[in-house]
């Protein structure tokens, strides 16, 4: 009897534990990935085309009476049209004004077989959207399957003037452009002298810095001294030992902080003749290594930093133990938010870390050439309407419609040009059941993000204001410039491309192996010796040829952008 009873108790206990753990697993919070691409929220909706019966009540301005069905292939398996196609206001607007009924097609897997089939058979949908860094756009253009944007503009929309520098960037070898990007930043759109936020932003803890009296950190030496003061004078935060300097995790290819230090220490990447310099081999790079090695020897970098992964770094930041972080704040916005919620005073502020000579940093800003590009098939029967649609989407009217909706219905303009959501729109969002889909806003395949990014309503909660990139990175905007040519213009036809890719991977793996050893050296001389030895070994692995190849791509990039020099101090 006793055995029966204890058996029953243990069985109930076990099933209770199981039920609780399953419940906990189900309730786990899904941490959404914060993309740098800032994609709008895509709600699930049917991607199949819907035959619309009859036109809507309001006559369009320059509308069409008939409707052509077209296919638009988007090479992202997770992409969904953000509204309710066929029923929402945006798709009805497209149908009425452009006479188009779009059938969006997405691949089931990664899309490579679909793209290869297209290239092999030549059967291209009316519109194709692929990632800008893949080779497909060149392959399709070369195969003669696309109609150039130049031709479309000439024939149907002569008033459409895309940003020339971006347009030229996507030129193929025949001088014509076949691709229109989204999220591209054009230097011509910026007001003269305007600067964008930098991509990275080294940050330090405002509360601890204030405690020390905000001492001078205008050179690397002075900064290291301040870090030492943090270690010896402030010592702890909330009972936990402080980590004066935090770097990214060490990966197989090196360390992200060492790469960012190139920018803060103003290591040039272009010489006076316009040739690309390999920054690691520039004599100024030694200052980066010396800085990291000295910081380690003085006990300012935690030994854990060399073996921690991103999760452990998140933990350290969230617990408040990190004073200065040589990272990009958008990578750590979640732990910073956690820390702020626990202690409103524990805030990070951006600062300009300078090299041993106290020179100004030269930072890369957030601009880019775009995320996705859209191509138009040569055999499409709706080229005229497609041209008009693309021209509309890229215009101010189009951009405001996809981002903000309809004036007085979903938003109103403020006096300074920024917008405010209407109560009707805010209510629809608050319902959380997709009622905002009836408008169909957020179509992101053709976006001019720069033109709208500052018009959205400002964040209202203190934590959002604190973490907004615009606010946190403000002290560094004066140092951030356009360095977009340094990555080079990709040339998929180059005969050595695969071999150079292999060399570059091999070198970066080797560098990843040696960098920790260099930083961990016991003395400056030892660090220097290992560093020189590593440089020599990389030379033996084919570094010189790789530099020459990268220089070729760099010159191609400068040509496409129409600039002589790319290194910002040369362009002042």
């Amino acid at each position: 009897m006793k055995a029966m009873k204890s058996k029953k108790i243990s069985i109930t206990l076990l099933s209770l534990v199981m039920a609780i753990s399953i419940g906990l697993a189900g309730c786990s919070v899904n941490k959404g990935n914060s993309n740098n691409a800032k994609e709008s929220q895509a709600n699930p909706s049917s991607s199949a085309s819907v035959e619309t019966a009859g036109a809507s009540g309001e006559p369009a301005k320059q509308g069409y009476d008939d409707v052509l069905n077209i296919d638009w292939y988007v090479n992202l398996s997770w992409w969904k049209y953000p509204g309710d196609y066929g029923k929402d206001k945006f798709s009805q607007y497209i149908r009425d004004r452009f006479g188009l009924n779009i059938n969006f097609i997405t691949p089931a897997g990664d899309g490579s077989d679909q793209m290869s089939a297209m290239i092999a058979t030549g059967e291209i949908p009316d519109l194709v959207t692929v990632e800008s860094w893949l080779d497909y756009k060149t392959k399709l253009a070369k195969g003669g399957y696309l109609v150039s944007i130049n031709e479309l503009i000439e024939k149907y929309v002569p008033d459409f003037k895309p940003y020339q520098d971006i347009f030229n960037w996507y030129k193929e070898s025949d001088g014509k452009t076949y691709a229109l990007p989204n999220y591209a930043y054009s230097s011509q759109a910026l007001k003269p002298g305007e600067q964008l936020e930098p991509n990275s932003a080294f940050t330090l803890r405002k509360d601890i810095y204030d405690k020390l009296g905000r001492p001078d950190i205008s050179t690397a030496d002075k900064f290291l001294d301040v870090l030492e003061r943090v270690k010896n004078e402030v010592k702890t935060y909330d009972g936990k030992s402080l980590i004066p300097l935090q770097l990214y995790e060490f990966t197989a290819n090196g360390n992200g902080s060492a790469s960012w230090l190139n920018e803060y220490f103003a290591v040039p990447y272009e010489d006076e003749n316009g040739k690309l310099i390999n920054r690691t081999y520039n004599p100024k790079y030694w200052e980066v290594i010396k800085f990291l090695n000295e910081a380690y020897r003085r006990g300012l970098i935690s030994k854990d930093n060399f073996t921690d992964k991103r999760d452990q770094i998140n933990e350290k930041i969230a617990s408040g133990r990190v004073f200065a972080s040589l990272t990009a704040p958008q990578d750590f916005s979640d732990p910073m938010r956690t820390l702020y919620t626990a202690d409103n005073n524990a805030q990070y502020e951006a600062f300009a870390l300078r090299n041993y000579e106290g020179e100004n940093p030269v930072l890369t800003d957030i601009r880019g050439f775009g995320w996705l590009v859209t191509l138009v098939g040569k055999d499409s029967k709706a080229q005229e309407r497609i041209a008009k649609l693309l021209s509309f989407l890229n215009s101010k009217e189009g951009q405001h419609m996809v981002h903000f909706g309809w004036e007085n219905e979903t938003y109103t303009y403020n006096a300074d040009g920024t917008i405010q959501w209407t109560q009707e729109y805010k209510d629809a969002i608050a319902k959380g059941d997709g009622s905002e889909k009836k408008w169909g806003m957020g179509f992101n395949l053709q976006m001019d993000w720069y033109s709208v990014k500052d018009l959205f309503p400002q964040p209202e909660k203190p934590v959002d204001i604190y973490l907004a990139e615009k606010n946190m990175k403000k002290p560094l905007v004066q140092y951030s410039y356009d360095t977009s040519a340094v990555g080079g213009k990709p040339n998929p036809d180059h005969p050595d491309r695969d071999k150079m890719l292999e060399t570059s991977n091999r070198l970066s793996l080797y560098w990843g192996k040696e960098l920790p050893r260099i930083i961990l050296a016991d003395s400056e001389e030892k660090a220097r010796a290992i560093f020189e030895d590593t440089l020599k070994k990389m030379d033996d692995m084919g570094r010189v040829k790789l530099d020459k190849y990268n220089d070729e791509l760099f010159q191609g990039a400068k040509q496409a952008l129409g600039i002589e020099r790319s290194w910002p101090p040369f362009r002042k």
């Binding site: 490579s112 077989d113 030992s241 030994k303 854990d304 992964k309 991977n505 192996k513």
Partner: protein, 321 residues
């Protein structure tokens, strides 16, 4: 033995042919059919792709077409792997780590099972079993994360304990020390796998006829003699089978465990064939090169398996096939 009593002489009936037997057993064969199809589709059919080890298919966008269309390059990739500066370390780590696991992680569950079986107190026995099974169900990522926190130089419990015990004089990063890697792997895999691995041995032990033990006790055998002469020989069959399976796994590393503990600082002792193939093949898209490496590994594993089979036949009189 008299010839007339020889079994085969009396029952010399012709064996029914294959088709007849299949038809008679069609229900059972149908159940097995799913398993056979699964193996054919997922294990045998992909083998055709191995030819890309001899073709130039690195960085290919469409791997299916490369299998048929890429040009041949012969033994180039095998040569490249053998001449790579990491080859010696990778091979040493793969074979060394697995041999060590064989030497230590293989006997451990057996000894543990024997120890558990000798516990008289029933509730305590069940308690020990349940606690020892528990780590098996946690994934290596979670378990590894816990261990990484424990090994932290400043806040970890392991380093503090070692300092207080006077074993080390100043804090050392165990995850950054190559020579600490192999012991770390062995210890963590024992913690995680000991309980679960002992289940099957425990099952074999409980099936031993208890009268044997009684007879031995009457004959004056102490506890250790009983274990040595009864328990071990009775489960020797199970031990041999598992031993041979472990030998065939000699070049397979437990990827999750190694990936979690591998850091740029201990690469010298932590880079094995599987992590190397993952880094170079999947993330860097060098498909042909890493297929060649994988083929190399399979060939060596096959040799080891054949060797183990022959040795066990000589020593224990039975092999695996």
């Amino acid at each position: 033995m008299h010839p007339e009593m020889h079994p085969s002489a009396a029952l010399k009936k012709p064996r029914p042919n294959l088709i007849f037997r299949l038809r008679k057993q069609w229900q059972i064969q149908a159940m097995a059919l799913f398993g056979i199809m699964f193996v054919l589709v997922f294990n045998y059919a992909p083998m055709f792709g191995i030819i890309i080890a001899f073709k130039m298919a690195d960085y290919s966008v469409n791997l299916m077409r490369s299998i048929t269309e890429a040009p041949w390059v012969g033994w180039d990739y095998f040569k490249e792997f053998i001449l790579d500066y990491q080859f010696r370390d990778i091979l040493l780590n793969t074979v060394g780590l697995n041999l060590l696991q064989l030497l230590i992680n293989f006997p451990a569950p057996i000894i543990f099972a024997i120890l558990i079986s000798e516990i008289a107190h029933k509730r305590f026995k069940k308690l020990v079993q349940s606690i020892s099974y528990f780590p098996h169900f946690i994934s290596w990522i979670v378990f590894g994360g816990i261990i990484i926190n424990m090994l932290s130089v400043e806040t970890g419990v392991v380093v503090s304990a070692l300092l207080k015990l006077g074993i080390i004089s100043e804090p050392v990063s165990l995850l950054g020390e190559p020579n600490a890697f192999w012991p770390l792997i062995i210890i963590t895999s024992i913690i995680k796998g000991l309980g679960w691995g002992s289940i099957i041995y425990l099952a074999a032990i409980t099936s031993i006829d208890p009268t044997l033990y009684e007879a031995a006790t009457i004959d004056g055998a102490g506890r250790f003699r009983r274990i040595w002469h009864i328990t071990l020989p009775s489960i020797s069959g199970t031990i041999i089978v598992f031993f041979l399976l472990s030998v065939s796994n000699l070049l397979n590393s437990s990827f999750d465990q190694l990936w979690v503990f591998q850091t740029p600082l201990n690469l010298e002792r932590s880079e094995v064939i599987d992590t190397f193939v993952y880094k170079i093949g999947i993330t860097q898209m060098r498909y042909s090169y890493t297929t060649a490496v994988g083929l190399f590994k399979s060939a060596v594993a096959l040799i080891l398996l054949a060797g183990g089979h022959l040795i066990s036949k000589k020593v224990a009189g039975r092999g695996i096939f």
